[in-house]
Structure formats: structure tokens, C-alpha cells
């Protein structure tokens, strides 16, 4: 009896969870279409697209979107090329201290950002990269690089070792082997890795806050700046809705990679 009901139980469970996941977002979207501050032409409490129009007309908000996209892209462009050889080495080679080094890398992923905020701010101001998107992109490598190595290592380990050996017998050098054979095979893995970098980096606020005191603010900080004596909650919610669109599009286009499954290696 219970067995025949199982598909229905599963569907109900999934729908309940989706409802739970979307409830705050429904509330947010509703408020984003309501005028919450008096503005010429619209009454407070009336339905309006004005909040979204205000995003477009506010140069600070437009710049914030540009900054967020820029630092996430820079971060991915730094993280992925550095993570691939490291993941390859951890997956295929045994070298002095490899296990300890891998654990040390993971340790940086689990280091609370609050712990390192002050010295990172000092270091980056000495390097002159405070208030720039590059600074945030670099700081986010702290947690994105270890997680990328971890994910990519799983993907590389899933590829049979014999293939490497055949290629080396054919006279391929290791870097060339990685470029011509390995990369095309782990392409889904690279996409998943880039997606995780995006996900952790786009929404992060601790480093983004301390590294952008005057300039180069990402969306999260631009939202913070909207809170004040009279907060236009409608605009705040509209900016939040808009900030989620790139991620939602990305998840949807990534669905085949995510649902094809990926392996995670051991520590």
C-alpha cells in the first residue's frame, strides 16, 4: 500500500519544499512591484513598474551590476585555470606532502572570513587593489579555489588512468595531454566548477564589504547603501529580484550538467 503511494509522497514532498523555497521570494517579488515611497505620478501602495525603472535610471545601481558581473568573471578566470593543474596533480600523482597540502587547501575554504578581514584589507591596500573589482575577485579565490580543486579532482579521478598512459606512450607531454585530451572530457566538470564559483562569489558579503569602502561596490553593497532614514523597500526588493536573474538563468542552463551527476573525491 505504502509502496504504491511512494511516487505521490515524493511529489508532495518536492512541491512542499519548493513552496518553502519560493515563499520568501514570492513575497519579495510582490513588494518589488509596489510603490513604497511617494513618487510623482504613483500613489504609495499602488502597483507599479517604477522600482525596476528606478534601477535603470540610477547610475550607482547600474554600476553595481557591472561590478558584480566583472568580479565574478575575473574570479572564475583566475580560479579555474589554476585549479585544473592542481586537481590533476592531486588526482593522478603522489608527491611529498600531497595529503597535507590538500587538507591545508581545504582549511582555507573553511576558514571563517571574519577571521581574515583585517589583514586582507591591510594587504590589499598595500598592493593598491582596495576598492577595485580585482581585489574582491582575488579575495574570493580564498574559498573558491579549494572548492574548485575538490570538485575537479572528482571529475578527473572518474576518467580511466589507462588513457593518460596511452597518450604518454604516444609521446604527448603532460601539459599537452591535459590540453588536448583531459580538458574536453572534463568540460562538464569545468562548467559545474564555474557555476559553484559563481554561486559562492555572487552573494558573498563579508569581503565585498571591507574591500569596497568607497568604490567598486557590488550589488549586495549597493543594496546596503539603499537602507537609510527613509528606505524604499520596493526598490530594495526589485534590486534583489534583478540580482537573482543571472543566477537563475545559469542554473537552468546548467541543468543537464548538474543532473548528469558529478563525483566528489575524498579529502
Amino acid at each position: 500500500m505504502l509502496l504504491r503511494l511512494l511516487p505521490y509522497i515524493k511529489a508532495t514532498g518536492l512541491i512542499l519544499f519548493l513552496g518553502f523555497a519560493c515563499l520568501p521570494l514570492v513575497q519579495m517579488t510582490m513588494i518589488s512591484f509596489i510603490a513604497t515611497l511617494p513618487q510623482p505620478g504613483t500613489e504609495v501602495g499602488s502597483l507599479t513598474f517604477g522600482n525596476y525603472a528606478n534601477i535603470l535610471s540610477d547610475p550607482n545601481l547600474r554600476a553595481a551590476f557591472g561590478n558584480s558581473i566583472a568580479y565574478v568573471l575575473i574570479n572564475i578566470c583566475i580560479t579555474v585555470p589554476i585549479a585544473i593543474p592542481a586537481a590533476y596533480a592531486f588526482s593522478r600523482m603522489s608527491f611529498l606532502g600531497d595529503k597535507h597540502l590538500f587538507f591545508a587547501f581545504i582549511a582555507f575554504r573553511i576558514t571563517p572570513p571574519v577571521v581574515l578581514t583585517l589583514p586582507i584589507f591591510q594587504l590589499f591596500s598595500a598592493l593598491g587593489i582596495v576598492n577595485s573589482v580585482f581585489g574582491i575577485a582575488l579575495a574570493h579565490c580564498l574559498f573558491n579555489l579549494p572548492i574548485s580543486i575538490w570538485i575537479l579532482q572528482g571529475f578527473i579521478s572518474a576518467i580511466p588512468k589507462e588513457q593518460d598512459e596511452t597518450a604518454f606512450l604516444d609521446g604527448y607531454s603532460r601539459p599537452r595531454f591535459i590540453w588536448t585530451f583531459l580538458l574536453p572530457q572534463i568540460a562538464p566538470g569545468i562548467a559545474v566548477t564555474a557555476f559553484f564559483c559563481f554561486m559562492f562569489s555572487w552573494v558573498e558579503v563579508v569581503f565585498a564589504r571591507i574591500l569596497t569602502t568607497t568604490n567598486g561596490k557590488p550589488i549586495s553593497m549597493a543594496i546596503n547603501a539603499l537602507f537609510g532614514f527613509q528606505t524604499d523597500i520596493g526598490l530594495v526588493m526589485a534590486v534583489t529580484v534583478a540580482s537573482m536573474i543571472p543566477g537563475a538563468v545559469l542554473v537552468f542552463s546548467m541543468r543537464h550538467h548538474l543532473s548528469r551527476g558529478f563525483k566528489v573525491g575524498k579529502i
Binding site: 518536492l14 600523482m93 575554504r109 576558514t111 577571521v115 541543468r255
Partner: protein
């Protein structure tokens, strides 16, 4: 077997250099600061282990340590089983998978500093959906006053935010199971529980390791989400380690906050290390594998 070859270092070098720059140098700086009384960053006095003595002998540190541990326990006990269950519920048909995954991932895409605002507006008795429903039933939530209710709000909020990550990780691992495993199980007449216990759960092994570690660490350092809800209140009941530390940094007590950071880092590191030790013990019996 892996080949023994120290050229592996060359491949890891770029990653090690980058993490050395953004991770190791700041970490050493923090350790250095923790032994000084600092007025301005150029003027400081060596105080030895004074801050450490002070912190370890103070009840405040251990109380916030206890609160963080309890919070992480709740988070893991709720989010890991829930995440696995929801991952098992995701349908097989391609189109629905895409929609379900996108819907599930949405909470992960909200900027962290907006999450408390979202939940506060949801709980607002005048304008929020949940707040109105509760008001209609005549339930008044005194969650700013009651420690239990503040905890409940933070735990529900964290569950909302992060269970999706567990779901996505578990779902990805589940899809790597070849269909032949399920066919064999069907022929043997295995019950759904047996299929889960002997086919699905073993495949989730490493993914769960990752999920538990990430969820433990991130919940242990919860700051951005917990602080705006009730500023550590009521009466310090939600003063978690990171919230406490954040207050200290805001007050410009660099020396003590550096010492606190170091202790904090050591705790996290120890837990992660114990975790991998335990993991290796579980792995050990099945060591002679042909991989």
C-alpha cells in the same frame, strides 16, 4: 596506484602561491597581532599570551562557543537528512528536473545580506505572508523577546538558505548510479529502503562528506544572517562565535579580536581534521579496491 613523482608540486604551485597570498599571509598577520596590544597599527606592545589567557578564562567565549556548537548540531540534524530526502524526490523526467533544480537553487542566489530582510518582511504581521497568516489565527509571535523563537527563526532561515546546496550535491551524486544497479535490485525484489541503504547511500558517501563539512563550517561561522535578526539577542541568546567576534572587531579591539580569531580558526581546523580522520577509518576496511 598513483605514480610517485614530485613534479606534482609544479602543478600545485600556482594554487599554493595564490592561497599563500590571500590566505597564509593574512593568517600569519592575525597570529602575529594576537600577541600585541594595538593602539594604532604602527604602535603596539608585546603582551605575550595575555589575550589568550583572558579569553579562555572568560565565560563569554565558552558560552558563545557552546551556542555555535548547538546551532551547528541543529543545522546538520535538519539539513542533511532533509537534503537527501528532497534529492530522492526529484523526478526523472528531464524537463521537470530543470525546473525543480532551478526552483531549489533560488535561495542560494540571494545576496546574503538580504536574507534577514526577506525573512523579516515575511514575518511582519502587517505586510508579510506568514505574519498575516499567523495574525489571522490570532498567534502573536514574540520572537524578538523569546530566545527559543529567535533561534527558530534563524534555524528556519538557515535551512531555507542552505538545504538547497545539500539537495544539489546529493542529486548530482545520485545520478551517477548506473541504471543496471536498480535493475539488479528490482530483480532481487529489494524494498525502496534496501535500495536506499545499499545502493544510493554508499554512492552519496563523498558528497555527504563535502556537504557535512561545508554545512558545519558555514553554520559555525554564521554572522551575516544571524546578526540583523536580533543583534545577538534576546539577552545574548544568539551571540554566536562570529557575531561576538564581529562586535569585537567593530570596537577596534584588534589584539583581543586577533586572539579570538586564532582560537576560532584552531577550533574549525581541529574539527575538520578529526572529521577526515574518522573518514579514513570508515574507508580503511574497504581498502583493497581495484581503483
Amino acid at each position: 596506484m598513483k605514480e610517485r613523482n614530485n613534479t606534482g608540486w609544479l602543478f600545485v604551485l600556482p594554487a599554493a602561491l595564490l592561497l599563500g597570498l590571500v590566505g597564509l599571509i593574512p593568517l600569519i598577520t592575525v597570529i602575529n597581532y594576537s600577541f600585541f596590544e594595538i593602539f594604532i597599527l604602527d604602535r603596539r606592545f608585546w603582551v605575550g599570551t595575555e589575550w589568550y589567557n583572558e579569553i579562555i578564562s572568560s565565560g563569554r567565549f565558552w558560552a558563545s562557543f557552546g551556542r555555535s556548537t548547538l546551532f551547528s548540531t541543529f543545522v546538520l540534524a535538519i539539513q542533511i537528512p532533509l537534503g537527501i530526502a528532497i534529492a530522492l524526490c526529484i523526478p526523472k523526467r528531464q524537463f521537470w528536473v530543470g525546473l525543480a533544480l532551478a526552483g531549489i537553487a533560488l535561495p542560494l542566489l540571494v545576496p546574503w545580506n538580504m536574507i534577514p530582510s526577506l525573512w523579516l518582511s515575511l514575518l511582519n504581521p502587517d505586510t508579510g505572508i506568514i505574519g498575516r497568516i499567523m495574525a489571522a489565527f490570532g498567534w502573536s509571535a514574540e520572537w524578538k523577546m523569546s530566545a527559543v523563537q529567535t533561534w527558530a527563526v534563524i534555524i528556519i532561515m538557515d535551512t531555507w538558505h542552505w538545504t538547497s546546496l545539500v539537495v544539489i550535491l546529493c542529486y548530482s551524486a545520485l545520478t551517477t548510479i548506473p541504471a543496471s544497479y536498480y535493475q539488479a535490485a528490482a530483480i532481487d525484489g529489494a524494498s525502496p529502503w534496501q535500495v536506499f541503504r545499499h545502493i544510493q547511500l554508499p554512492k552519496l558517501h563523498y558528497v555527504l562528506l563535502m556537504a557535512v563539512l561545508l554545512r558545519f563550517m558555514d553554520s559555525f561561522m554564521i554572522y551575516t544572517e544571524a546578526f540583523p535578526i536580533n543583534a545577538g539577542g534576546p539577552d545574548g541568546a544568539t551571540m554566536f562565535l562570529a557575531v561576538d567576534l564581529g562586535e569585537e572587531i567593530k570596537a577596534f579591539n584588534y589584539g583581543p579580536s586577533a586572539a579570538r580569531s586564532v582560537l576560532y580558526f584552531l577550533i574549525v581546523l581541529t574539527v575538520a581534521w578529526l572529521f577526515t580522520k574518522a573518514q579514513n577509518k570508515i574507508d580503511a576496511p574497504e581498502a583493497p579496491r581495484a581503483t
